[in-house]
């Protein structure tokens, strides 16, 4: 009986997941069809780019600087255990730089934005749903997907790569500060090893991840918002769901992209 109930629960959850995936896909299709509308309404996209990108800068700055700092410190700890002697930290710059460009900046900046932006999109659109504002758009013959979702997803696609570039710089600064003041590595050693092993492909792969994560986070927030039911409780639930699904999307997407790109 317990096994039966458990199997039913797993089956139901699996179906719900694929239903959700279907909703996201339909929404993405309708957003892509809205390209002409967005070209006429660039101001809507610009407003969302400011909200999503510019207003996320303080949080991304804090997260990135400490990400770089921790990466530097823990890489040093691992190198010293593996490579003995005075040369052990000569490759610190290269290792930390690669980690920041390929993984740390896109994923951590993505999760931070998922929490800040994805959840707030779900809350905003969810509130509009439960207070009939979405129905009001429809009654005015305005497509809420074009007016609300398309600008947000487009802003996600645009601003996330820009945020990750910014995060790359700030994380490198954090890594360098720890390397210089705590590990006593000279700037020449740190940056020459980073430069020697630098690959432009690492930057591009990080930006591809950022593009997918930014658009995906906004898409999930919009979809969950549009399907919110149940008043204030429903909006609260939607906010949490948006963060959880966006974070899971980033982590799973990170693995899938890693297998494709590397």
């Amino acid at each position: 009986m317990i096994i039966n109930d458990y199997c039913q629960k797993v089956g139901r959850r699996s179906i719900e997941f694929f239903v959700e995936l279907g909703k996201w896909s339909i929404l993405l299709y309708r957003i892509i069809k809205s390209t002409g509308y967005l070209l006429k309404h660039r101001r809507l996209v610009l407003n969302q780019m400011i909200k999503m990108g510019v207003n996320s800068l303080p949080l991304v700055t804090v997260v990135s600087i400490f990400t770089g700092a921790v990466a530097s410190w823990q890489a040093a700890y691992q190198f010293q255990g593996v490579i003995p002697g005075a040369m052990s930290l000569d490759f610190l710059g290269a290792a930390v730089s690669a980690a920041i460009l390929i993984e740390l900046s896109p994923v951590l900046a993505g999760i931070v934005v998922a929490g800040r932006v994805g959840a707030s999109i779900a809350a905003e659109i969810g509130t509009m749903r439960v207070t009939e504002q979405i129905d009001a758009f429809e009654s005015l013959a305005i497509d809420p997907v074009q007016y609300l979702a398309a600008p947000r997803v487009t802003a996600g696609w645009t601003m996330m790569p820009i945020l990750v570039i910014y995060s790359d710089f700030v994380a490198h600064l954090g890594a360098f500060l720890v390397a210089s003041f705590m590990l006593h590595i000279s700037p020449e050693t740190f940056f020459s090893s980073a430069k020697k092993y630098f690959l432009a492909y690492n930057v591009w792969s990080g930006l591809i991840k950022a593009f997918v994560f930014g658009g995906g986070t906004a898409l999930i927030g919009c979809s969950i918002g549009f399907h919110t039911r149940g008043g204030a409780v429903g909006v609260g639930r939607a906010t949490i769901q948006a963060f959880v699904f966006s974070s899971a999307f980033i982590l799973v997407g990170d693995y899938i992209l890693a297998t494709i790109l590397f």
Partner: protein, 245 residues
């Protein structure tokens, strides 16, 4: 029409007369607001057809549905003003989206619309700064801005004090008279219903149980209609008028 397996509307044969104010009454939760949303195409019925100017909207794609919706204006129960926009932006949104009018013309129309509802100086306010009655009036101004042929009112007086409710009733009558539109008012406020309604329909248990003039509704001896009209919780209790006989 069902929600999660529960049938809300079971049999609705209703024809709305043109140029009149039709009032649809019924108890709370009987499907009055659902009826309005079906007429607007915001919901799709499980079965049946909805004809607007002889076009069946249940078979339409999104593009055609939006074309038909431009004939409508709707005042929602809570006004449903867009929180992130000022009163001016709320009212002007449809004009900016659907017309190529210059900004001066749009502002002129917004001003006239606000004057019609008696809110001339509120265009820069946010919805959060407005009272319930003011929100409804702005909602009405928004619903009328595109010169619709049909206006739907979802519980227009709910939540308002008696004086403000009567103001809204007067607005509905005045709007109908000046703009020569077809109005459908959904309400359980009988005073409002009798004041504004030329034609009435009543929903009970998911079906239309009365259609006719407001006078005929007031005189009906049907026990379900009497019970609703007199606001009696118990169907079997006699009305005071019967007791006097």
């Amino acid at each position: 029409m069902s929600f999660d397996g529960k049938r809300v509307l079971k049999g609705m044969d209703l024809e709305i007369p043109a140029g009149k104010t039709s009032v649809v009454v019924g108890c709370s939760g009987c499907g009055k607001s659902v009826l309005l949303k079906l007429i607007m195409g915001l919901l799709k019925p499980d079965q049946g057809h909805i004809l607007v100017d002889d076009e069946d909207i249940t078979q339409m794609g999104r593009k055609d549905l939006f074309r038909v919706r431009k004939k409508f204006g709707m005042l929602f129960q809570g006004a449903a003003l867009f929180d992130s926009m000022t009163v001016n932006e709320n009212i002007g949104l449809a004009l900016r989206e659907h017309t190529e009018l210059p900004e001066e013309e749009i502002q002129s129309r917004i001003k006239k619309s606000l004057e019609l509802v008696g809110l001339a100086d509120t265009d820069l306010k946010q919805p959060a700064e407005l009272s319930g009655g003011m929100k409804k009036r702005v909602g009405l101004a928004r619903a009328l801005i595109m010169d619709p042929q049909y206006v739907l009112f979802d519980e227009p007086t709910t939540g308002l004090d008696p004086i403000m409710a009567d103001n809204i009733n007067d607005l509905i009558i005045e709007t109908n008279r000046r703009l020569n539109i077809t109005s459908i008012v959904v309400t359980h406020d009988m005073e409002s219903a009798f004041k504004v309604g030329d034609y009435m329909a009543m929903i009970s248990n998911g079906r239309i149980v009365f259609t006719g003039s407001a006078k005929a509704f007031q005189k009906s001896r049907d026990p379900i209609i009497e019970q609703f009209r007199e606001g009696r919780a118990d169907l079997s209790a006699s009305s005071p008028s019967k007791k006097r006989k």
